[in-house]
């Protein structure tokens, strides 16, 4: 091709880059606006219900009073007030606890994702193992996490170094919730590789490892990421639930257990904690979403 044509192509390309950059910015502003609008609408609905049901005294589906639906301003004020006399604000206490839970959840997420993917990869290469193990893997998820948590704590804690005591076991419980969707979707994704691509790799006399790394793994990414999005929020839930039987006080799970006992007196503190827990889950989800956007390169119409 002549250099003139090559230049034309590169000019075209940079023009295209400029357009996508601008349209991306517009898309982002659009989305942020939409999210803000949704949040405002939800908050308005909450307070609207609150006002109407309190004014009319309606009780269906549930009544509104200071215990069932504390006002938004009560909840936000609770963030600023000290949780206990002579202590820092509830907000700063919850931030510390959220950080602790985030550490557990992140470790659990990474552990679960790695184990889940490895499991999926092993199963993808053996129909026999697939048939033998898949029922048990599915079965593992029917056991309530609260039923296995005490065992995990007793088994895992003695094996952990001093710096990981307590939270390490919770991470394992969280991993128990996260490995499953990742394993199932990795298996599906690794098997989704185009058979013609596998055939092409055969003509290069590629080893199983090379095929896994160069074809199956990239082909599985869209599947793996949709599992990771589920796993991201599951890891937070797993960490919070895992804290309950462990008797850990440093995380959000401990705080929830604690504020539960005072719910009838001070419901706003539990509500505040729930908001923080939900935000933590959302942050995890968004982190995975961001990673997906950065990593997965696919034809736009095929992007999941």
């Amino acid at each position: 091709m002549s250099s003139g044509a090559a230049n034309a192509a590169s000019v075209q390309r940079s023009a295209a880059a400029r357009v996508t950059w601008r349209s991306r910015l517009r898309g982002a502003t659009h989305r942020a606006g939409l999210i803000a609008l949704t949040v405002v609408a939800l908050l308005a609905f909450y307070e609207g219900y609150n006002w109407l049901w309190r004014a009319t005294g309606w009780t269906w589906p549930f009544p509104a009073d200071d215990t069932t639906l504390p006002h938004l301003w009560t909840i936000f004020k609770a963030f600023a007030d000290p949780a206990q006399v002579n202590q820092p604000s509830l907000f700063s206490v919850l931030m510390h606890k959220a950080l602790f839970t985030a550490k557990e959840a992140f470790a659990g997420f990474v552990l679960g994702a790695l184990f889940g993917f490895a499991l999926g990869a092993v199963l993808a290469h053996s129909k026999l193992l697939q048939r033998g193990f898949l029922p048990y893997i599915v079965g593992s998820q029917t056991i309530p996490i609260l039923a296995i948590a005490p065992m995990v704590v007793i088994w895992v804690n003695p094996k952990l170094p001093a710096g990981m005591q307590g939270w390490g076991a919770v991470a394992v419980i969280s991993a128990y919730l996260t490995f499953f969707p990742v394993a199932v979707n990795s298996l599906r994704g690794l098997n989704s590789a185009d058979p013609r691509m596998l055939e092409l790799m055969r003509t290069y006399a590629a080893s199983t490892w090379t095929v896994l790394w160069k074809v199956r793994f990239p082909a599985s990414l869209p599947y793996v990421f949709s599992a990771l999005k589920v796993a991201a929020t599951a890891s937070v839930v797993g960490a919070i639930i895992g804290e309950l039987p462990s008797g850990l006080q440093s995380g959000l799970g401990g705080a929830i257990l604690n504020f539960n006992q005072y719910y009838s007196i001070e419901p706003q503190e539990l509500w505040a904690t729930n908001i923080v827990a939900a935000l933590l889950g959302i942050i995890f989800f968004l982190a995975v979403l961001g990673a997906e956007k950065a990593v997965v390169r696919r034809a736009p119409e095929r992007r999941a």
Partner: protein, 272 residues
């Protein structure tokens, strides 16, 4: 013709697919000399792709054997003796055009600078300079197919297996790529097995055209293409070209008594 070194030798190959009990190939015997350009032509389902895949050791023959450069087909595949182009481009979405062409070079363990240089040459060869950083879905079907040809040629295999590489392209692009393929073939001095549905394409490109007939897949006849000189745009106007096209068509028709009517129509309308 003096006896050239045999590159591909197919002897007594029969392939039966257990599913549906189809005899895709029956007793195929074919020898390919070094530097030959052989086209396989025949109605749909006559086993052209199957024969190509048997040669490439992607399908096991039920009986008979294939040797390539004196080795078993399996050994030849493990030694990466051939490059293949499928009917569809089969490009990796997650790789850029350059990275797609680099794939076989990565498999051969070439270092990065060497790969880069070769990719640039290949892009120029298929006239895609400037598109190296594009992803496959940003290219037209014809451009994608050119990338897959560049990928197959990148490591300069002595043997090229091509399964209807230009089947999906428009007539103009097809004729241009035909000329390009011929000049590459002359440059690299490679041996080519080329599957096509088009009689004129087969005659234009080949040194020999192998006509196949279906159910069971057999070789109906082989036409030596004795067109003078290097092929060019004028070749298509050469009276000898028309004679050879007619010869191939007759051979296809003669063996086509037991074709289904729509296949008959496809064969007849082929090179219009």
């Amino acid at each position: 013709m003096t006896e050239p070194t045999t590159v591909v030798s197919v002897s007594g190959v029969t392939k039966t697919f257990p599913r549906g009990n189809v005899t895709a190939l029956q007793d195929i015997n074919l020898d390919l000399g070094a530097g030959e350009f052989i086209s396989l032509i025949g109605p749909s389902g006559c086993g052209k792709s199957t024969l190509l895949r048997v040669i490439g050791d992607l399908v096991e023959p039920t009986s008979g054997s294939v040797t390539i450069n004196g080795k078993s087909a399996h050994q030849a595949r493990t030694d990466r003796d051939y490059g293949i182009v499928f009917q569809d481009a089969v490009l990796f979405d997650w790789r850029t055009v350059s990275k797609n062409i680099e794939l076989p070079l990565e498999m051969l363990g070439w270092d990065r600078p060497k790969r880069r240089t070769r990719v640039a040459e290949m892009l120029a060869l298929v006239e895609l300079t400037g598109f190296g950083d594009h992803h496959p879905w940003q290219l037209s079907g014809g451009m994608q197919q050119r990338v897959s040809i560049a990928r197959a040629l990148a490591f300069e295999p002595a043997l090229l297996l091509m399964d209807e590489p230009f089947g999906a392209l428009d007539e103009m692009t097809r004729e241009r790529l035909n000329l390009e393929l011929l000049s590459i073939w002359q440059q690299l001095q490679s041996t080519v097995v080329f599957v096509t549905h088009s009689i004129s394409e087969a005659v234009f490109l080949s040194t020999r055209v192998v006509v196949m007939s279906p159910r069971p897949g057999r070789i109906a006849g082989i036409v030596d293409i004795d067109l003078p000189g290097p092929r060019s745009v004028e070749t298509r106007e050469d009276p000898r070209f028309f004679e050879l096209v007619t010869e191939v068509r007759e051979l296809l028709r003669m063996r086509g008594e037991h074709l289904l009517p729509e296949e008959e129509a496809a064969v007849a309308g082929e090179d219009a």
